[in-house]
Structures are given as structure tokens and as C-alpha cells.
Amino acid sequence: MIFWTTLDSWIVLAAALAGASCALTGSFLVLRKMSMMGDAISHAVLPGIAIAFILTASRGSGVMFVGAALVGVLTAVLVEVIRKYGNLEQGASMGVVFTVLFAIGLILIEQAARHVDIHPDHVLFGAVEMVPLYTVSVAGLAIPRGVLVLAVVFLINLTVVTVLFKELRLATFDPALATTLGINARAIHYLLMTLVAVTTVAAFEVVGSILVIAMLIVPGATAHLLTRRLLPFLVVSVLTAVLAAGVGHLAAIGIPPHFGYEDVVSAGSIATVLGLCFFTAFILAPEQGILARAWNRVRLQLAIAMQDVLGLLARSEERSRPAAGNLSRSDLRGLDRSPFALRGRTLHLALLLLAARGMVLRENGRYRLTERGNEAAQGLLRTHRLWERFFFDDGQVELGDLHPAADYLEHYTDDRLQADLAGRFAREKTDPRGNRIPGL
């Protein structure tokens, strides 16, 4: 049983806005291979937030955002300085910078907790449940302050990305070209860092300082698996974040009651849903997904196996052995010399498919070529023997080594290449061993 209230709507709206803002800036981090910079900055803004808490004795203020922007740039600069002076790799220098800043932040928060209603847990996991409690009235409507702030930040991000779309794209994919064209790649870099820092602070209240990394990186990574173009990439990324915000909160209040609990922390649930989104894309993505790639491999393997079977049958028919092209399955296995060995299930499937396409006839456990099968097989033999001719004449390859090389190439030769080869060796009419080249 789910009790959906206005509060929940506000919470989902806040989470969706936070997700969309993070996804917009985070996508560029993913593309620029700087994801962990997002991690570093989101940790590093903590002392700034804590100091703002102590100074203003309240949650959220303009001071905080100015501070955050400064800290964001400062982190990027510090990481660079330590990397250069210490001759360290970037990861290590980030590791030093953000852990120390975060540690200072935690200690300060502990101090701030005396003045402001804040618990260190809010730092890590956020407090999205408290968002609807602090409202401001805009045009007579009581809108939660957090939602308003996030909406503004989202608009800023959207504006920057829209206006600087071309520059961002260039600086991301080809910084050298961007510099040549007069785009200041360095300025773009620090602008992005500033945006990340401001977005992190705005989203801090909703998802906390660690789960904000999920919102920064996971949508972009998911989109990376699904598309290759920048605009669809950004759209998919933002949609993933918004979807995860809705589903995440729904799961947080909807699932636990079945196990006798009231609810769980929404931010964690949103991060988990984001992880599931990524996992789904990881498995099912049309080009990059595990399944698609496994399927492609199987298809290629079967196509090669089918061609090998056709070749074996045609050759045995040519030599009339063992019984005029009537081969059993074990005969096929025994004769096979191809580099992609014909074995068990692959052979079985290849024979089934060939029979289904009317290329092979099965009689009493023995196989022979049909008219159509023979046509296809002759084409293969032709390609195979043309290659052997090519390697023998032009490549000076030993007679004994010809077969394996031709066996590889016959599966990857298209009609045009075959015609080319046929044109060159039209006068020969046979392969180096004296076997007829079909069709010459």
C-alpha cells in the first residue's frame, strides 16, 4: 500500500531536478574521462557548506553557492598543483585533496550541529524527506525552497549547455582543435568545474554528498552505452536521471511496507535504481550491450560454420568420396581442417539452419547438397581457390600453407573482391594444386 501525498510530489520534483542538473553537467565529466573529478569536488565542497552553516546559522544561502563555486575551482587547481609538484598521477592527488577537505568538513559539521539542525548523516545520504518542510511563497504559492533553488540551478545548467553547446562539444572531443579555433579549453574546463560545484551544493540537500556522484556519473555512463551522438546522449542522460528519481522514491516508500518496514532512505533508493538502469543498459544496449555483442558473435560463428559445411560437402562431391557427397556428421568432423573448428552444438545448429534454408538434404543421417546449396558452395570454392592462387602467385606462400590462409579469408570476401580476383587469374582456371576454380 502506497500513501502518496503532496509531500511526495515535491520530493520527487526536487529529486528529478537535482538528477537532471547533475546529469547535464556530469555527462560532460563522463565524456571527458573526468568522472572522479566530480567525486573529488562533491566531497570537497563540504567544508564550504559547513562554514556557511556556521556563519549564517541556517541551511542554504547565497553565500554557500559563491563559496561552492570557489571551492570547486580551488579543488581543480589544488589537484593540478599537487599532481605537478609531487609528480603524482591525478587519481592520487585527487585522493589526497578530497579526503582532507572532506575530513575537515565533517569536523566542522560536527561543530555546526550545535547551531543548526543538521546531522552528519544528512551529509552522506541527504535529507530529501525534509525538502517540503522549508517553504517560501512565490506568487502566493508555497514552494519548497529546495525545489526553487534546484529549478534555478537546472535552468542555469541548461542555459550554459545550450549557449556553449558547440564550444563544449569541441573542447570535449577535440581539445586541440578547439584551441586552434580560438576556444579557450582551459576556461571551459574551469567553467565546467564551477557548474559541477554549484550543482553539487544544490543537490547536496536532496541526495547528500556521496550519492550525488551517482547522479553525476551514472546517467552519463548509461547514455554512453546507448548512443553515440552528443545531443541524444544528453537527452538520454537527463531522462535516465529523472526516471530514476521518480522510480527510486516510489520504491523507497512502496517496497519496504511489504517487509514490515515503514520506508527507506530515498537517496539510497534512487542511487540503487540508477545502478539498475546502468545494469540494464549494460546487458541490453542495442550495440554495446553484453547480449547484443554475444548475439553478434554467435551469428558470425554460425555463418562461418555453415559456409564450412557447404565447402566440405562440395569438395567431397568433387572427389566422389566417401560416397558421392553423402557425409555423416562424424565424417564432417573428421574432414574439417578449418581454423574455426566445427564442433558439437555449432555443427548441429549449422546443419539445422542449412536444411531449413533448403541448401542441404538429410537422408538416413547423411547429408548432401541440394541445387541451391551447390550454387552457394561453388561460390565459396571459387573464392577459396582464387585466394590460394593469389597467395601462391603473388605472395610466394608455400603450397602446404595455402589452405589455412584461404580458409580465413573465404568467409570475409565480398562479391566485388571475388570479381577482382577472378579478373586477375582468369587465365589460370585452376588453383595451385590443379583443382578447377568454379566459374572460370
Binding site: 574521462k33 568522472s35 572522479m36 609531487g86 585527487m94 579526503t99 552505452l225 532512505v265 542511487a271
Partner: protein, 446 residues
């Protein structure tokens, strides 16, 4: 926090403090040792992902133990949970990087945040379970040295010892795979398996450190000491020593402060102490420290400047342009575009170095030492000019610049070789290409 309260802690007067101190110092040493290899192998952030990925393991194990009615706060069992999910996180990073075009840093970010998010969900389940001693779990997030009991400290100590010993036994192998993995592979070392073992040690340290430093900051005990050591030395074994010492100090001082101020999260305190040591290392480090660098740079600039000035003074004398103080000053300031103030200071420095002297208001003269030095520098310079001109196909316009640059790095042996080599190419020592005829080298002091 007053000193009277800190002293008994630092001197280990209290039994409980001794126990905790033993644990954190062992942890600091082990983290320091392994951290050096982790850092040099370029995998520092992997430890961060592993640390965060441990949360669902800790919370999940807690729930399982609770459901089984066992002792839900059993430290070793919770660590087993952390170990399992930490390893799982590392496996996920490897899978994502190998099977997709997602880069490693994004894979780290994904694993880190999603695992931590799921851990947060499990944690909030724990907190809402009636009768569960949920407070114990918070210690794993922020670190709480005070919650360490004798058996925990012993466990950490023994595990740290095993880790350190195995790292030292494999010192040669680890050194090879951190500095030249391609060579190691070529020589037939099982690079991949050694790498896996190193990562297993990293996971082990991470899990051991959870109680003292906490999930969020546990990476610090691996990364900061090693990074700090980098500023002190370039030798691997020295770096390990410095790193271990830094780790131990961080554990010791951090624990002491936490004992006095138990409200502060212990992990944050330890990391802040380590951060302070790191800051000191950046400043004072004897190998890469900023102060050493600045001093070295300054020394180099001064050396170059005084050599340049000596040579210009020499040339001035050669051309007979130093009869009066005004004439000399004009020549010097025109030679390099040096401002009078700058020149005055540089000349004073040479005077203090005992290279030149003057009668008040008169022109500068070389002392005997200064004369020899000026001759050496000028000779050096001209040798290089000729060498570059004749043998390095350098256009005459650029020769002076090139010679200027090189002569200050030139060693004595090389100069001798050059002197010998030039005549063999059919050259005697000529004057400077800038229409000077006097060859310094065996001249009398004018």
C-alpha cells in the same frame, strides 16, 4: 582540549588507549607500505571505490546476523561482509572497464556511488528495525576508534603484520610491476597475478581500516602517507619507510585526539592529522618540497647571473672600456639591458663573494680568484660557441644564446674534452664570434 588531558593519552597511561593505539598504528604502517605500491601503480582511486563498496556488505551482514539471532556487532563477521562486497565492487569495476567503452574513472564512480546507495538503503532498514543496536554501524561510516576492543586491535595487528610481511617478501616483484610492467611480463613474471595479489592486499587494508577511519575516508590511510613520502625521496625503500612512519604518526596522534574529543568523528581526525603531515611534506620535503625547489631555483638564478656578470666584466676589460667607473657602468648596463639598481646589487654580491673589488668611486677590478673564475667562464662560453658554430649546425645569430644556456650546466670533464677535441677538427681556439680577438686561458692578469 587541553594539554593536561592530551598528555596521559599520548604517553599511553590508559589501558584502553594503549589497545586502540596499537590497532591504529599497525593499520597506519600497513596502509603506508601498501599505499606506496598502490600509488606508484596508478590505482589510488580504486581503494576509494572498494571502501565505499564495503557499506552494503557491512549492513547486509548486520541484517543477516540479526535475522539469525547472532551477535549482530561481531567485528570479524562484519569485516567478512565488507570484504565480500568490497571484492564484488572491484570485480564490477573490472567487468565494466573490460566489457564496455566506459572509462575506468567512470566505472569507479558508478561502483562507488551505486554500492554506497544500496548500502544506505540497507542501513536505513537497520535503523528502522526495532531493537537493533544500530548505532554500532555508524561507527563503520565515520570511524570510531573508541569502539575498538582488545580482540579487534589484535585482529588488526595480526592482519597488518601478515600484510606487511607479504609485501616485503614480494618487494622485488612489486617493484618490478610498479615501475616496468611490460618488462616484467617480458621476463615471464606473472604480472596479472601479482597485480591481483596487490589489489587483494589493498582490499584487506581497506576492510581493516573501516572501524578506525570509516568507509568514506578509508582511502586516505593508503593514499596520503604514500603521497607525502613522494616529497621526501625517490628511492622506493626510503619512500616505504617514510610512508609507514607517516601512517603510524597519523594513527597515533589521530587516536590521541579522538580519545580526548570523542564527539569528533575519528576517521576525520586521523585524516586531518595525515593531511597536516602532507602539507608539511609539500612545504619542507627534501626531494620535491616547495621550499627546497624555490631555494634551488634561486641558487641557480644567482649562479647564472654572477657568471654572466663576470664574463661581461671580462669583455669590458678586454675592450678597454673600464678606465672610469662611469664608462664601466655604461658598458655593463648596455651589455644585457640590466637596470642600474639590479646591476649594483649583483656587483655587491660578487664583491661579497670575493671576486671583485674597487677603490671607492673607482671602477671595479678583479681579485685574483675573480680573474681566474672570469677567465674560466669566458673560455667555457667561447668553446661552446665554436662547438655549436662548427659542429652542431647552429646559425651564428643563435650561438650566443645557446652558449649562455649550456655553459652553466657544463661539467669540467666535458670542457676538457672539448678543448682537446677542437684542435683535432682543425681548429685552434678563436675569439668570440662577436668580433673579439683575445683568447682567454693563459693570459696575464691586466
Amino acid at each position: 582540549m587541553t594539554l593536561e588531558r592530551l598528555m596521559p593519552v599520548l604517553t599511553l597511561a590508559d589501558y584502553n588507549t594503549r589497545v586502540v593505539m596499537f590497532g591504529t598504528v599497525c593499520l597506519g604502517i600497513a596502509g603506508g607500505v601498501i599505499g606506496v605500491f598502490l600509488l606508484l601503480r596508478g590505482r589510488a582511486l580504486l581503494a576509494d571505490a572498494v571502501g565505499h563498496a564495503a557499506l552494503p556488505g557491512v549492513a547486509g551482514m548486520f541484517l543477516i546476523l540479526l535475522a539469525a539471532g547472532g551477535p549482530a556487532r561481531s567485528f570479524p563477521l562484519l569485516m567478512v561482509g565488507a570484504l565480500l562486497s568490497g571484492l564484488m565492487g572491484m570485480g564490477c569495476v573490472a567487468l565494466i572497464t573490460r566489457l564496455t567503452r566506459i572509462s575506468q574513472d567512470a566505472a569507479l564512480g558508478i561502483v562507488l556511488s551505486v554500492f554506497f546507495g544500496f548500502g544506505a538503503v540497507l542501513l536505513s532498514v537497520v535503523q528502522k528495525t526495532r531493537g537493533a543496536p544500530a548505532a554500532g554501524l555508524n561507527h563503520f561510516i565515520y570511524g570510531r576508534t573508541a569502539s575498538m576492543i582488545r580482540s579487534d586491535a589484535l585482529l588488526i595487528g595480526v592482519a597488518a603484520l601478515v600484510i606487511i610481511i607479504s609485501a616485503l617478501l614480494l618487494y622485488k616483484e612489486f617493484r618490478l610491476i610498479t615501475f616496468d610492467p611490460a618488462y616484467a611480463a617480458g621476463e615471464g613474471w606473472p604480472v596479472h597475478r601479482l597485480d591481483l595479489f596487490l589489489m587483494a592486499l589493498v582490499v584487506a587494508i581497506t576492510v581493516l581500516g573501516l572501524q578506525a577511519v570509516g568507509i568514506v575516508l578509508v582511502i586516505a590511510i593508503l593514499v596520503i602517507p604514500a603521497a607525502a613520502a613522494r616529497f621526501w625521496t625517490d628511492r622506493l625503500w626510503k619512500m616505504i619507510l617514510v610512508s609507514a612512519l607517516t601512517g603510524a604518526t597519523g594513527g597515533y596522534v589521530g587516536t590521541a585526539i579522538s580519545a580526548v574529543a570523542p564527539r569528533l568523528p575519528a576517521g576525520a581526525v586521523i585524516v586531518t592529522v595525515l593531511g597536516t603531515i602532507f602539507l608539511a611534506s609539500i612545504l619542507f620535503g627534501t626531494r620535491r618540497g616547495i621550499i627546497v625547489r624555490v631555494l634551488e631555483q634561486r641558487r641557480q638564478v644567482r649562479k647564472t647571473l654572477s657568471q654572466n656578470l663576470l664574463r661581461v666584466l671580462f669583455e669590458c676589460r678586454e675592450e678597454g672600456a673600464s678606465r672610469t667607473a662611469e664608462e664601466q657602468l655604461l658598458y655593463l648596463s648596455q651589455a644585457r639591458g640590466w637596470s642600474p639598481r639590479f646591476l649594483k646589487r649583483a656587483l655587491r654580491r660578487l664583491q661579497r663573494g670575493g671576486m671583485i673589488y674597487r677603490i671607492p668611486e673607482g671602477p671595479w677590478h678583479f681579485t685574483e680568484r675573480g680573474w681566474l673564475e672570469a677567465m674560466r667562464v669566458t673560455r667555457n662560453h667561447r668553446l661552446w660557441e665554436v662547438y655549436l658554430l662548427e659542429h652542431a649546425d647552429v646559425a651564428p645569430v643563435h650561438v650566443d644564446q645557446g652558449a649562455d644556456y649550456i655553459e652553466h650546466v657544463l661539467g669540467d670533464a666535458l670542457v676538457a674534452e672539448l678543448e682537446e677535441a677542437l684542435p683535432r677538427f682543425g681548429h685552434t681556439l678563436p675569439g668570440s664570434p662577436h668580433e673579439l680577438s683575445v683568447i682567454p686561458g693563459d693570459g696575464e692578469m691586466p
